[in-house]
Symmetry: C2
């Protein structure tokens, strides 16, 4: 039996919940969970904001732990190994996307907390291909957020081959944004934080931003005309996207990793004269996660987290909801 | 003096108009105009649809002719040479974009018919860097539309390095779209035409499309789920862009060269799971126009046009407005 914490109805509180995971599949592993980060998409799932939630719902998809059981066909992981698990916990492993290393885009990728139970538990299972070894030198107590937040902001740097000479803007300094600042600084870029909070401007600097722009001040934004090669939006609110597009240099890209539910109302004229693009991406593939961990270790990058005991998981969720967390909340045993 | 045809007020008719172009600048050339295509953006400028028109307005930015006078500093062109001129008739030639060959993105690029007079005339002048030699083997009477329509649809194939193995959709089979079909077929791609007109389905096939999809039939569009690597929209109307996005394969791009004035209302979720992009681009640089002409000559590609005498220019404009032209209207002397 697995001892978990589950939400029983939309917006509900976490309650103890036991379930029988059945026999371990030949390609799966079981992870003894030591830590689990909490992501905004856990809140979206708790609240059924995307209409995809099934209850009881066990949140948690920023899992860190050790391998406690191995399916008979698993060759690449070993018992006791430190591993992480993110938003996706299995892939078809045979489609052209999987065969090309793009597991994260696989049509049959199974989200860890959609129709199955996640990491707010003593154990969680996943297909071995979705489980990422954590190399020595990565602190386990802060590593959880790497597997969703980290992988989500690191992925576009790899995908779009962002150059160290690039000028990059990051909108929103939260769970995703604070990691984006750290990665981009180490990547060699000129890093600008767009933030609505005055207090976060100095924090942004400590996190790696060379400049900050007040995202509530259209005049400041206008002054950044034609400046950025790449802007990463980590927020889920509607901003004046056409204004942000004016701050992109020719061939610049406004890229969304935060899920803004309101349509983007982009004007063709905002893109056309300067060959600008708008795009969005999900979490990364397991291979890119491994590359991210290697990069993070070399540059001593780790998520800034506030820790709560699993027993205080409801307080932890409330803390994340408050918007005050610096910058990610992690549950520990 | 230059003998031109001008519009004197928004939506007006063309009338004879003479103007003195002054002394020829050292870096300019004068072109004796033999042919001039008519583009939808001429109509937009005639009607002041973009709020940028100045009257008297001499339309015409798909110019073909011969060099009739050379500024003293022009070294790369010669008297009597066959040349073309498109939407842009000068660049700053020193900004980082010009220095990088991206003249078409230059902030000081001068549109041929905005604040100066275009090709509905016996002569037109332009900076030599914006004037493109027409190689032997390109028919002059149909070449005009290459310099705006052709360059606009050819440009993204170069810009995004479209692969001959790609599956590409083209929305709208008009002045731009019919050339896109011809180019893409020669480029090696699988070509699908989206068209609202049943009659154009068979025409699309003759122009190079391997398949057609009725753009007014959402069911047909849904069946093309995940299919296209690239979709080029040449229309200026609002379509269900989120539905079109579903027809893009992972990393697919919905690209606008037609100027849709209504905002695009793109949902982040329509792009995110499959790393899709939305973008737009203007006409190409002169260098890319030369490359296009070389490609067109090798593959025997020329615009399909209806010809009118310059004296019948008002009839020609009306014909373009009717939406019935196959597929571009060209004025000849």
């Amino acid at each position: 039996m697995i001892n978990a914490l589950a939400i029983l109805e939309p917006g509900g509180k976490l309650e103890p919940f036991r379930y029988d995971p059945g026999e371990l599949s030949t390609h799966d592993v079981e992870i003894a969970v030591s830590h689990c980060g909490i992501c905004h998409s856990d809140l979206s799932m708790i609240d059924n904001e995307w209409g995809r939630s099934q209850y009881p719902l066990v949140p948690g998809h920023e899992v860190v732990g050790t391998i406690s059981a191995l399916g008979s066909n698993v060759k690449n992981l070993s018992l006791g190994q430190n591993v992480g698990l993110g938003w996706q916990s299995s892939y078809c492993n045979h489609c052209s996307l999987c065969m090309n290393g793009d597991h994260n885009l696989c049509r049959e990728a199974q989200p860890t907390i959609v129709g199955r139970h996640g990491g707010f538990a003593d154990k969680v299972r996943a297909d071995a291909t979705s489980v990422v070894p954590i190399p020595d030198g990565i602190a386990l107590d802060t590593a959880g957020p790497m597997f969703c937040a980290g992988s989500t902001v690191f992925n576009p740097l790899v995908e779009y081959e962002i150059k160290p000479t690039a000028k990059v803007g990051v909108i929103g300094i939260g769970g995703l944004g604070h990691l984006a600042l750290k990665f981009l600084n180490a990547w060699g870029c000129e890093v600008t934080a767009f933030t609505s909070s005055e207090s976060k401007a100095s924090e942004a600097s400590a996190l790696g931003a060379h400049n900050t722009i007040n995202s509530r001040d259209p005049e400041q934004i206008k002054q950044a005309k034609d400046r950025f090669d790449f802007i990463l939006s980590t927020v889920n609110v509607k901003l004046d996207w056409n204004l942000y597009l004016t701050t992109l240099s020719p061939r610049g890209r406004l890229h969304f990793v935060g899920i803004t539910l309101e349509p983007l109302d982009i004007a063709v004229f905002s893109m056309l004269g300067s060959l600008r693009s708008v795009s969005a991406s999900p979490v990364s593939s397991p291979t890119t996660m491994s590359r991210m961990l290697e990069f993070a270790r070399r540059h001593n990058i780790q998520p800034s987290v506030e820790k709560f005991r699993f027993d205080d998981a409801n307080d932890a969720v409330d803390r994340l909801r408050s918007g005050e967390a610096h910058y990610r909340v992690v549950l520990e045993r």
